[in-house]
Point group: C2
Chain length 292, copies 2
Amino acid sequence: MGTASGAEPMSFLDKIAACAAFDVAAYLPFVVDGRPVGLVRPEFAAHLASFGRVFQVAPDHVYLDPELAGVEERTRAVDEVLHQLAESGMLPGWRGEVYPVAGQLEAPPLFFMERAAIPRFGIWASGVHVNGFVRDGDEIAMWVGRRSPDKQTAPNKLDQIVAGGRSAGYSVRETVIKESEEEASIGPTLALQARPTGAITYQTERDGGLRRDVLYVFDLELPTDFEPRNTDGEIAHFELWPIARVTETVRDTDEFKFNCSLVVIDFLIRHGLISPDEEPDYLALVQGLRVC
Amino acid sequence: MGTASGAEPMSFLDKIAACAAFDVAAYLPFVVDGRPVGLVRPEFAAHLASFGRVFQVAPDHVYLDPELAGVEERTRAVDEVLHQLAESGMLPGWRGEVYPVAGQLEAPPLFFMERAAIPRFGIWASGVHVNGFVRDGDEIAMWVGRRSPDKQTAPNKLDQIVAGGRSAGYSVRETVIKESEEEASIGPTLALQARPTGAITYQTERDGGLRRDVLYVFDLELPTDFEPRNTDGEIAHFELWPIARVTETVRDTDEFKFNCSLVVIDFLIRHGLISPDEEPDYLALVQGLRVC
């Protein structure tokens, strides 16, 4: 195997390191109703300071005006500010999807926030990633998607057959069913066969802020005659790769989108395709896939 | 399902909590060759203080005499002390097996130490646990072992079909092969089919000190006509249980040995038998199985 662009040999651990710890001291806690729910960069906090009816910026934290008491009131007030930031170009990539904001993931939401703003406020979010694979005897082949050149995040990178953020109001399973249909034309009957296998967590500086994600990981063994078709324009095309090619591509290149690499590494570990006696970084990989 | 002895309902998360964090301030670092390799209780350090040629006890740490420079010299000197502690009843449960001691697991060992002393010095150790299961269509049944009433640790508790500590000089795979034969009469050909699926880590106060373990977890799908037989007297008998009974027993009772519960929970998560939409503690379970 060659290495990317003749540089240092790459490794699985590089891919974990690419989603690694950040300097928490470089952020201000974002506090809602007395609870820390996120982390904001001081530069972004300076923009928020112009909206004093909604955001109050103290030297050591940013908080939502306590007068904004209910879920609806907070949601509406924050949304108005975010729209103004978007109009003035300070919040690119508006999605028109909202995510819940809470003291901790899966807790009752304090309000709802436009997806594009989630990393700016360092809010924990969740998504689903599905490993679509085919067995041929003992051999495994995996479907990989090439992301569309028009995607606003990670254009042209490799992706799982199905992956997507979990918007407010959708259960984990509903998100799998919805994304399976949109991204790969996998109908609900087949999507229901996707098996939850755990979760990956990371915190990493990206997308103009801090991505703090829980990825719920599913395995979906597909019939050999199934062929995914993208319907929402997010994937340019799909290919079925022998697992050895997937392994080498994740280890030796940066072709996979940063978080999709972690999902592949987790798959390889769970399926015994990375083994403790042969991989010196085994424990670091296992632990690196789940940070607090 | 009833709950154990009419007390509070039990949960999967209780089993994680039973292997949970300890008060590091209640221990003194154990330092060898300038590297912290373990944690020692002050009461035990007081016993070590009588062996000043080997152990030196400072107010805030315990260290091996730096004059003991090589692996062999350290091993021999520590072993002499441990034998004396064992003879005077202060180190019960001598095993006659040595474990490597290093700055971190899998690093070159600084010396080797009798297994019974490992928790007393809070040294990280590793072991293997094998989930032995049988498929009948979509249904899974799991072999469980009832530990012998004569076992020095956790007599009569439930265990995996194969589990054991990894002594110095054995690879992870060699440990699986050795323990499979001794504990369940699983020959090497079948044992080689056991698939590594990850690792569980915990630190917990037990066995007169601190257990700091990495459990390398394997799945072994067994032929339906295979029946395990114990040959080393460690398991009283084996039973094949429907996975629902295993699930309920882990969740609702303390029948499984403390760390075997974690291995079952990890199996249930990986096989989709605990799911994120139905288990409110899902993320806490996933993260609790791998502590740093």
